[in-house]
Point group: D2
Chain length 346, copies 4
């Protein structure tokens, strides 16, 4: 049994950690941190938690938390977690950071894309990038875990076998992603109002979205070279879900079976990555409220390109579910504990 | 460990039974029946079940099923279950019927509202009406369980304490209900197409909806008299959820505390019925994907009436969840097994 | 040709006035007022207006406006319009107020329900309640026009023939209304975020909503007695539309034809009120983006009650469309000018 | 004044033609054809048309129609229009075909992508491709007008200046498009049910969608060479709207101003194509219910590519609106008659 603290428990991602951990037999929720709602009962902020999680929210007192908790999740805005980390903290608790602060190894790239000064760059090297299916062994030993971004998880898992196996030219990658609105957070902003999002689609952050360098770095490791790609996120009128449609030039002559074998090589034994059957396209409805990622691909002989597709739930495998999966690995629990539920439909 | 069969497993309610039972440690899904999709893999019909429930669908062979299963759920159109039931069947398996066939004790009322001839009226008397919070002890002993309707469950649980305690005039009840579209089933019909339902609200079945006599009968038991009420269902542009707003004349002078005490009397110890705090209105988002029902009320001194409100997920507490809850009671499992998850938000 | 000013042109209702008046051949949009967006181009606030209404927003300078405009629409929060009105203003321009300030004749009722002090009660008597189908002749002569509320318009038009003709007991009226989210305005508030509204239904303002006394007053005029009724608004996950389902006890023995005749008596010659055919329920999708109100009713012989239903677009007939209809009447234009378009579907 | 007939008036596109033409001062709707609803009143099929278009639907009697109509719109499944056309028909009426039958000049490409035999290939040459902004002069003289596809209109108008001016390598084009669900038609199919589409995104027809060769042909004319491109459509949970995000390699060194000038060269004087301001991305909400197309672009210096974006309403500029625009050109009416309304929001 471990004690868990969450800093930023009243955002959508933080709330999803709470929801998942309520079903975890080895976890006690010890500290629900929320700067905005201190002393307000958690179930007043999220009515679904009435009679389930009624404790009051606490402040972000890291000094107190490290003494009460075995692991702390930080589901906070970019730049905040880097102000909390030091050797004393890491000697007492494990940190699973859902922000971007420790995802990017080159701090200058972080600072350039995020327009922030990193406050504890000395820990970036130690941090483990928590994409479970790729870095499982390192994750088990991590003290400081950088939980991947939602778009990033979907993009990387969709493209990884193609890049790793040299099937595509990594410099030709174009990623067109569509996200549900919970990815925009729970802040009160006009563009996120119901009537502004409903019945509309838009691209945003075109050529400048911060998940770009994260995808480039991780896929770069897979192929052993620096990559530049285009990543375009879109806002879709739905609560949850990310769909990635990725395009690349084929680097060698391949047929369906060869590419399928590449995907199976990496994912056949992975519970949470499902390589769909031939010609079946991933749909976000089939992974909702679950930790699954569905991937598939289609070769276009006419243009000698490939279309790779992936779908996940941005709040689960794209955030809280993967964070719990990482926690399970870090503490030696069964990897799918508390995240082993089938997707919900409809 | 029991073996479970489902007739009608490829409708929305049947699929929700499958989803819930996949998390039930005492259950083996033995027979996924579906007349429309015989021999098609279940996961081809519902993509969320890929690599989770890949067995092919079977036909509705009740003779074979009774020998392989301990319990059979029938999530089928009205009138079908009544053709399956006989003493031989009931001597071998327990039946949990999600249709209306065994809900109404007076067969002439059933036949009048449903425009159907009942094929096994001799079993109506034995059937237990499976509203767990009201009929728990009878349910434990049932062979044939009539699982309540979605609107009915929400309406009855919302009004039960008021009727039972004589707080309202039961002849004055007006129930205005709003349902998500999964309640309309998975049949391919123009009025249920996305563009027809989206961005619209409508009433339907005004003064004639079939859940009316079911509500009247059950609330009639609570007050010991025959009741006539108005029940108006509405279709709302959302997947899941039922919201009931009910109106009645106060039968005696009461204040908030007195009415609150009446609700607490029946629900304080019930996990799945949550009496909300003063002035908090039930919202379907707070019960989604869960077996919870949220209820509350507001006294209107100006008109000497009361407004009672309830919210549930039509596929869970309104169908599959309650069916599983009934199964747990009938087999002596812990009542909340496989349905003990918090609501999902957003 | 008249010059029009709008105070509060950057809310949803104000924007709808702009949209409608752009198609009005007798109107020049002279002043787009918006305290929040002064000097910002109108099309930056509403992208649909790019290259159509690119002028900058102006402040709420009533002194300047009265000299430039023939009519001013005030689409502002409650209490604001009453601070603008005086004899000098009314001697120079006509005012069409979309707030509640001049709707309720008894200022004490206004102040009690709105928790506001009325700043110019001396003009309440003069103000004409702008429900075109009921008060057409008075509207033609008005200087100060109180444009009805969205819920109110739908509720009154749905019930008016029943009350006026003595068909129902007016003290027994219960109104259950469902509204699209644009009715909640464009303010940045957490409860109106996409993920909070989507996939949910809730009641709000139960027994206390401010449109209650407005409905009571107007229906009271129709039957010649003071009325107390219950009005319950609900928030629905859609942009536009109000659906009213109203219940009342029948005051005399009537059949379908008699009630139909009552509706026809008042609406047969009204373009914008459509009495639907027998057993057809109003649906908001059939009136969207139009000035139409669809109404119908169903007699329930079992309970001796009637269910009356109405549907409209809250931003058109429920706000901007009716305001333009009023303007047309006040200036002698053809009544349906600029609002004579069919509903949009889907 | 001209007489108009519509074959297929009860699909979504056909209904939108009806809606738009009801506001056209030079048009009389003479024949509302609908094989599925013969003799049913039009307003029974589309409730929004109650008391507006109550005439009964007629069959598809082309012989009778050519004598009563000046122009016939065919909003019918692929392959049907080609069975209607002959010299006699074209000598009597003008035909505006919303299907694909006469869009593609090379009949073998049509037959290969559509898996249909073309029944009147001798008229393909004569048919004019009705993209108004590109082919205006030819359209004015056309007897047989091939109205462009919805995805096609958006894709071509988004990319045309880039291809025409040699800014991009046309062989590198990748088009990722997202469409509202009305594009899937009004047929009763499970995948188009509310609960299947709502809260989900998916790609479909990957590498095989029939609009691909249409886009390739038209953009090929612009650059004078045969093009092969990837076009991927996606289904989005909204009624209306198409958003195109297109990617291509830059063929020469350009900056923002140069590309902007290219767009302005073709669209500056076009009412219905709006080149947005720098860094403003098109959003479908800003063009809804209107004939506008919003386009813009972003240069990505990191990868030497460009991202071009376009948004339109699939039922208006993507179907019925453009058809009316074409009709206006063909009959010498003012080009924007009946389609000159601003977009509706929200």
């Amino acid at each position: 049994m471990i004690n868990v603290g969450i800093i930023g428990s009243t955002g959508y991602a933080g709330a999803e950690i709470v929801r998942l951990l309520l079903g975890h037999p080895e976890v006690k929720l010890r500290w629900l941190g929320s700067r905005s709602y201190i002393d307000k009962r958690y179930s007043e902020v999220f009515g679904n938690m009435f009679e389930i999680a009624d404790d009051p929210c606490k402040d972000d007192n890291i000094e107190a938390m490290v003494n009460e908790c075995d692991v702390i999740f930080t589901a906070t805005p970019q730049g905040f977690c880097s102000t909390l980390i030091n050797e004393d903290v890491l000697s007492k608790v494990k940190i699973i950071d859902l922000s971007a602060d420790f995802r990017i190894k080159d701090v200058s790239i972080y600072e350039q894309w995020y327009k922030l000064e990193h406050k504890s760059p000395e820990f970036i090297k130690e941090a483990v990038y928590g994409l479970c299916e790729i870095n499982r062994e390192d994750i088990k030993k991590a003290r400081l875990l950088a939980n991947p971004g939602c778009y990033t998880t979907c993009s990387i898992l969709t493209l990884y076998p193609l890049v790793k196996e040299g099937i595509i030219d990594p410099q030709s990658i174009i990623i067109d992603a569509k996200s549900g609105t919970s990815g925009a957070g729970r802040g009160a902003k006009v563009p996120n109002l119901y009537c502004e999002v409903n019945e509309s689609m838009k691209a945003y952050g075109v050529t400048t979205h911060r998940h770009t360098p994260e995808i480039e770095e991780q896929l770069g490791y897979a192929c052993g070279e620096d990559i530049k790609l285009i990543f375009t996120p879109h806002l879709a009128p739905m609560n949850r879900g990310i769909l990635v449609t990725a395009y690349a030039n084929l680097a060698k002559s391949v047929d369906y079976d060869a590419v399928k074998a590449a995907y199976d090589k990496y994912y056949k034994n992975e519970q949470f990555v499902r390589v769909l059957e031939k010609d079946v396209c991933p749909e976000t409805r089939w992974v909702e409220c679950s930790n699954y990622v569905d991937v598939n691909f289609k070769i276009d002989e006419r243009t000698n390109r490939i279309v790779a597709m992936g779908a996940l739930d941005n709040l689960v495998k794209g955030a809280a579910g993967q964070a719990v999966q990482n926690m399970n690995l870090m503490f030696g629990f069964k990897e799918n504990t508390a995240i082993n539920m089938p997707p919900v439909f409809p």
